[in-house]
């Protein structure tokens, strides 16, 4: 089996339009959540979100591209460009033939669905743009990355709700680890912050109108975000041979299915995924210094997740740090694991643990070190990134310092 390292990272999210800007915001504990701005927002009960601001697709993409790129694809391409540039890889010949793109998204081109349904139902139009289908399809982003960067190997999109990115990155990890691909572009993207996207979530009655306060006793729900996180996973020997900068190593992963409820999380399912990732990576529980929590800010997730961590780590659960950066960038749904992987990279490479902001009151059911409100300096060996999706599908990645 090959060792797998990350040699490139890119992002755009509510905290910043690059990895450096995102790290800076996470370090400062800045909140990217604010009033939503889009058509018909006044008809929503939930009007806050982690929206990407100051981003104009016009000018970055030409007219032909704009007719094909939904916002989730735009985010993906911007993040992929940053990640691949950092990696220094250029895909030609055999490298191109074997390297592909595996991305996660839950909704794909949600705003393209939304805009065109509005057009035919509300505006009564009887004709839509010819590229609606290639624009909204869930694999559009992966396909455009493959075309833009000449990636001709295995490429596809994974959709497992809030665990999509982690499941996608787990696939990319497998491909590099097995020797099937020397490098894979992976991560995920989401852009559901449009009227229909938020209206659907509003119906579940689990959204907060004020803030995302994971682990805090007064938490009252999740807040949606949007954006993308893209990484280059590379064979360690391949990266070393070309003198690439290594951000961290991907040590292991595990997936599990609760097989129990379509929305309520399961402690056992989460614990099996966490323990499985440790086993897969050959990691002792005591080596884990930081967990980037799924930490949605719902009552159900946060207490279940803390109980699962306590079960897996025993007494060490009280010594490790666990934070939810969703408090800052919101819940990116299918893209969330990708943006949250950045917090793990920051912890391993920069020695900075991102905080859980908005934390106000301790909850006895979440009695772990949740790094409240202020980032912390710490040198850690291993970090985990949790994702537990609706439908009971869990995926946990384990990363190590190199």
């Amino acid at each position: 089996m090959k060792r797998v390292v990350i040699t490139g990272a890119g992002t755009i999210n509510a905290l910043g339009h690059s990895v450096a800007a995102t790290f800076e915001a996470m370090h400062a504990g800045r909140c990217g959540i604010g009033p939503l701005e889009f058509r018909d927002v006044e008809r929503l009960a939930i009007r806050i979100g982690g929206q990407v601001h100051g981003f104009e697709a016009e000018g970055r993409f030409n007219r032909q591209q704009m007719s094909l790129y939904d916002r989730f694809t735009q985010f993906t391409l911007i993040a992929a460009k940053e990640a691949i540039a950092q990696s220094g890889l250029e895909f030609h010949g055999e490298l191109s033939a074997k390297s592909g793109v595996v991305l996660g998204t839950a909704g794909g081109g949600v705003s393209t669905w939304d805009d065109n349904y509005r057009s035919v139902y509300e505006d009564g139009k009887n004709r839509v743009h010819p590229f609606v289908v290639p624009k909204l399809m869930n694999n559009a982003a992966a396909s455009h990355v493959s075309m833009e960067f000449n990636l001709k190997g295995p490429s596809f999109t994974v959709s497992t709700a809030c665990a999509s990115s982690n499941h996608a990155m787990a696939q990319a990890f497998q491909m590099v680890r097995s020797g099937m691909s020397p490098a894979m572009v992976t991560g995920g993207s989401e852009s559901m912050l449009c009227f229909g996207g938020v209206k659907a979530w509003e119906g579940l009655r689990v959204m907060s109108k004020e803030a995302c306060r994971p682990f805090s006793a007064n938490r009252n729900g999740m807040v949606q975000g949007e954006g993308a996180g893209i990484f280059v996973f590379e064979d360690y020997d391949h990266a070393r041979a070309r003198g690439a900068e290594i951000l961290c190593e991907v040590l292991g992963f595990a997936m599990s299915s609760d097989a129990s409820d379509i929305v309520m999380p399961s402690k056992q399912g989460a614990a099996r995924a966490i323990a499985g990732a440790l086993k897969d990576g050959g990691i002792n529980p005591e080596q884990v210094g930081y967990i980037n929590a799924h930490g949605t800010g719902t009552v159900a997730n946060d207490k279940t997740e803390c109980a699962a961590v306590a079960d897996v780590f025993g007494p060490h659960a009280d010594r490790l740090m666990i934070s939810s950066t969703k408090s800052m960038h919101g819940h990116l749904i299918g893209g969330t694991g990708a943006v949250e992987l950045l917090a793990c990279i920051m912890a391993l490479k920069e020695g900075v643990i991102a905080p859980t902001i908005g934390y106000e009151e301790p909850d006895p059911e979440c009695a772990l070190d949740v790094v409240p409100n202020t980032a912390r300096d710490a040198r850690i060996e291993v970090a985990l990134s949790n994702a537990f999706a609706f439908g009971g599908l869990n995926a946990v990645l384990a990363l190590g310092r190199v």
């Binding site: 579940l204 009655r205 907060s208 109108k209 009252n220 729900g221 379509i262 719902t298 009552v299």
Partner: protein, 85 residues
């Protein structure tokens, strides 16, 4: 149908019971309605009465809308209906 009959019909449908099995003092728990069933009941009530019920599943006890039993739900609906513009 009165508010009472409409609410009982909605709750009974969600609980898979006959309306005659639902009383004013029944709690949703008694009727076997879980958190997802509750959210569906609230949606059905909002549609039936054209009202908006302030309810967050994360903080059911903090809501102004009392869901402790069927009578409380009916009283809450009557109040919201009377406040309609």
């Amino acid at each position: 149908m009165s508010t009472r009959d409409k609410v009982i019909a909605i709750v009974a449908e969600q609980a898979l019971l006959a309306p005659s099995d639902v009383t004013l003092t029944s709690t949703l728990d008694d009727l076997g309605i879980d958190s997802m069933g509750l959210v569906e009941c609230i949606f059905a009530i909002e549609e039936e009465f054209d009202i908006s019920i302030p309810f967050n599943a994360n903080t059911p006890d903090e809501s102004d809308f009392d869901i402790s039993n069927v009578a409380a739900i009916i009283a809450g609906i009557d109040k919201l209906v009377s406040q309609k513009p």
